[in-house]
Assembly symmetry: C2
Homo-oligomer: 416 residues x 2
């Protein structure tokens, strides 16, 4: 992957979608219903068209896997096929004598002419809580500043099941949720629109290989079960969450919507960006031990854009801060025999760094509403206001190699 | 529904599957792959066959909805169609001059010759915690005997998201899960097979009508979104659960498997058994208020059958004890705009009664392992042992009208 690659497609400076990336998504146009594509520069390679024309011969001969509303069937073909297809696409996009070049006016669709859709049918969605900085911040605010981390936190990649039905693709607006809360100044709970609406800066991985009930996946094998990654905004209504979450965890404070970016960046594209994860002390149990670099250096940013105004960057973080890595998360998730399926989504939990500008939620940035975050238009925020658009971006870069995630962008509409 | 019904099918005494019931399931035989059927006595009406032969003309003309591995497509046809099909089946099964009678050798399949399958494709699974007796018992054991219920319990039908992938049909064996626990006598967590494996006696409803993201369902409309009910065993590894569940709720202590009965009993079949639910004090918030009888008088039993021995009844309870009813659960679940889909499963939480023999889990029956439960073979249990089979049964009866759920039966295999 460190070899130099080039392409005949014009790639704008700082494009997330270089020849090194080739992420998968589901798009539609005025002319056809949702189907699979790969992003390159400002274009999408129409995989169904390309396969129909025989350009993927020897890799994938049955084009129907690409003529679907979700990537699940393609992903189910397995890691070897993903890799072969990647190599074939690099070949076709590099060689200006390729048949793809000849067919480019039909095979390449401008992203501006396409609508992106949720890329996978998600059976189950799990949300972890794997950033030590985030868990510490939350613990300091809500529990004990001296004992911010709960006793299990350094032993278990803590996670919980979320709602898969309400995961939506970037660009889908979300209504401010209504619900039951118990304000500090009230003796009884009230029903109202959430007053403490928040984003959570997360990334998520998409499961690429199913397991059977009773089967555990080791940390060694775990990455073979991961297709790729996306940006993930785990919207949170802090006031609803606070009143409901003891003892069974977050529920209505979260399940009104979660937003993900449309392009799934494969683990293969992320290979150049592997880094060591934070040292884990105390030592983890053997089933959580791992070898090699399991962290990824991915720069993350969050912007808030008020209605009719420019956006302000409110947070800069990095996926490499994660205390628990994806291999550990998947090994833990399956160690009891819990089965996973292709298309399942497993999110990281809020990714915060040590510095104040690296906190991945308004809860942390405003420290529970004590501080205000100034925006460029002169307004301030403690939590999100109606008609605010939240934009999360992410990319990895190493010398000339840039692999980005695009963005996940969603607007908060007033409560219904 | 209180009118007297009869059928030409021989119905054994105390059969759960009377002419008043007509529950839906998915079955296969040596001759065909999974398809939809309705239980009657010791038989299954083959809905695909019956529809192909034109017997459901005017109700359902397209037989393909029945020739599927799941009931979702049929359920999506809507409540009016369920009701019309029920009336048509009653007509066909009552009249010994009907075409169904003439075709019975082919249209009726002996249950003993059929394999039952999971009846619905489950998008999301939610587990509530709606029995006040269960929540009180757990609170007394683990928190404060004087303040057993948490402050939110009487205001919110507390629930959490569970794992849909690991829900299996009755008859599927479950391996004892392994996982991380922290025994009281250990300073550090250990990894082992669960030593405190438990059942939870629950019922669950299957969502019959989808909603859109942002749409709330009122308590008044909620039952229109419910297709029917099943028995549900929410297996629980208490030691894994105890170490992991603070602060984000149950995860690996639950998601190694949940078992459901194969026959979905429709809400229409349960109409005669409506009863008042327990009085709710304090008064609930307006969005949780409801009118009419929303409880159902359904007798429930749990048996433990050790390997090569007879079963012992260890618990007798009733669904009517539920403090929060299904309409309230669904109204709460969607009040924030969370969308639900046909086939979603929402379980009640452990259904315990006031008396000690009515406790719906070994945790409560043995009071946290302090007491032993004697079995007929002379052995004793505090929690489940390897090769124990747990059988849950349920039925409603009012004079001659009996509507039963069959059973959910699963055996615990040793840890892998």
């Amino acid at each position: 992957m460190t070899e130099h690659l080039s392409t005949w497609v014009e790639i704008p400076k700082d494009s997330d979608f270089t020849i090194y990336n080739l992420p998968y998504g589901i798009f539609s146009t005025a002319n056809h219903s949702p189907r699979a594509g790969v992003a390159i520069g400002e274009y999408i390679v129409d995989l169904f068209f390309v396969c129909e024309k025989g350009l993927l011969e020897g890799v994938i001969n049955d084009s129907t896997v690409f003529n679907k509303a979700f990537l699940n069937d393609f992903i189910s073909l397995g890691k070897d096929t993903w890799s072969k297809l990647r190599n074939k696409l690099i070949e076709l996009l590099s060689d200006s004598n390729s048949k793809l070049f000849q067919l480019k006016s039909e095979a390449l669709v401008a992203q501006k002419d396409a609508t992106m859709h949720l890329p996978v049918q998600i059976g189950d969605y799990t949300d972890f809580y794997s950033s030590i900085e985030h868990a510490t911040n939350v613990g300091k605010m809500f529990r004990d500043p001296e004992n911010a981390l709960l006793p299990n936190w350094k032993h278990i990649p803590v996670g919980y099941h979320g709602r898969s039905s309400s995961i939506v693709v970037s660009g889908t607006d979300i209504h401010r949720p209504k619900g039951q809360t118990k304000p500090n100044d009230s003796e009884v709970p009230i029903f109202s629109a959430s007053r403490l609406l928040d984003f959570e800066l997360e990334m998520a991985f998409v499961v690429g290989k199913s397991t059977k009930l009773g089967e555990a996946v080791s940390t060694k094998d775990a990455e073979g079960h991961i297709f790729g990654m996306v940006l993930f905004n785990d919207w949170s209504a802090r006031d609803i969450q606070k009143w409901e979450y003891v003892p069974l965890g977050p529920f209505l404070g979260k399940n009104f919507g979660s937003s993900m970016s449309p392009w799934i960046v494969t683990l293969e594209a992320l290979e150049p960006f592997r880094v060591d994860s934070p040292k884990q002390d105390p030592k983890v149990l053997p089933y959580l031990e791992y070898e090699g670099k399991k962290g990824f250096d991915i720069s993350l940013e969050v912007y808030i854009k008020p209605e009719n105004s420019e956006e302000t960057k409110v947070c800069t973080s990095n996926f490499k801060y994660m205390y628990w890595n994806m291999a550990q998360q998947l090994a833990h998730h399956t160690v009891n025999g819990c089965n996973v399926n292709v298309g399942d989504v497993m999110a990281s939990g809020t990714i915060s760094g040590k510095e104040k500008h690296e906190f991945g939620s308004m809860l942390e940035l405003s420290w529970g509403g004590k501080n205000t975050i100034p925006l460029k238009d002169g307004s301030e925020r403690k939590f999100l206001q109606d008609n605010d658009t939240v934009i999360m971006k992410g990319h990895a870069q190493k010398e000339e190699i840039r692999v980005g995630f695009g963005e996940v962008r969603s607007k908060i509409l007033p409560a219904k």
